[in-house]
Symmetry: C2
Subunit: 147 residues, 2 copies
């Protein structure tokens, strides 16, 4: 069995590309006082009209629930989300975006998306779509494994 060169190693390429896009996104988000991890929590909160539990956030983001606590703390301190008691389970606290949070995420998302698309400009639009679909299938299969 012949070994490929490191430059042809999918894991290595994923790490490099992920690092590139994360740096790009963080640079775009700095204007809003956000980094990608906080931004991803805000993003999900905005898209969930009734909010999400921190457990749900951890699941979607692939993070440990203990990490989500700190991210929500920071977003709450910045006034972008708030924690509300769940009407059905007193253990659960729902993370809900504030009006400010919704505005910030809208502007931040457009800036970040634009910068990341530019970072990926070596790929055509349809190639970026292909990349997204391939990655999404890997993530879904991993999520299915851990269920």
């Amino acid at each position: 069995m012949e070994l490929p060169t490191l430059a042809d190693n999918v894991g290595f390429l994923l790490s490099r590309t992920s690092g590139l896009t994360a740096r790009t996104a963080n640079a775009a988000l700095a204007e809003y006082g956000l980094r990608v991890r906080q931004y991803s929590v805000l993003y999900l909160a905005v898209d969930a009209p009734d909010g999400l539990s921190q457990r749900e956030l951890a699941g979607v983001l692939g993070l440990d629930p203990s990490q989500v606590v700190l991210l929500v703390d920071e977003l709450a301190a910045a006034g972008l989300v708030e924690r509300r008691p769940s009407p059905t389970d007193r253990r659960t606290r729902l993370v809900v975006a504030t009006a400010t949070g919704r505005q910030v995420r809208g502007r931040a998302a457009r800036d970040a998306n634009s910068q990341v698309r530019h970072r990926l400009r070596a790929l055509s639009d349809s190639e970026q779509d292909t990349l997204r679909d391939l990655l999404a299938r890997v993530v879904r299969s991993a999520d299915a494994d851990s269920t």
Copy 2:
């Protein structure tokens, strides 16, 4: 402009997929006392018959040269690589794999590749090739930018 859901965001998917494959690779490499960063340095050293300068390693890996120093320190302490003076430039130290390093990287690479392929098994072989090619083009374009 309509915002996509986070699950359709290429940056987010890259981060998740990179994390998944890095964890998988680290688990496979633990048997050899390696982690992906150290492994990637060893990998390049093995493939360069006359060794590489730490500056070259940093360039290929997308790391800061100061980080490469520590990775080479660890590999040298484990007897997998050694630093040799460059015959042409007394500032430069060439990182060269030892015989042990070559053996270890061969076995480690086969284990890690096998595990990562399994982690990506939602994609067919040809889809994994497509993914690799798309990512490689992004990395090359970024490398060209910083030149």
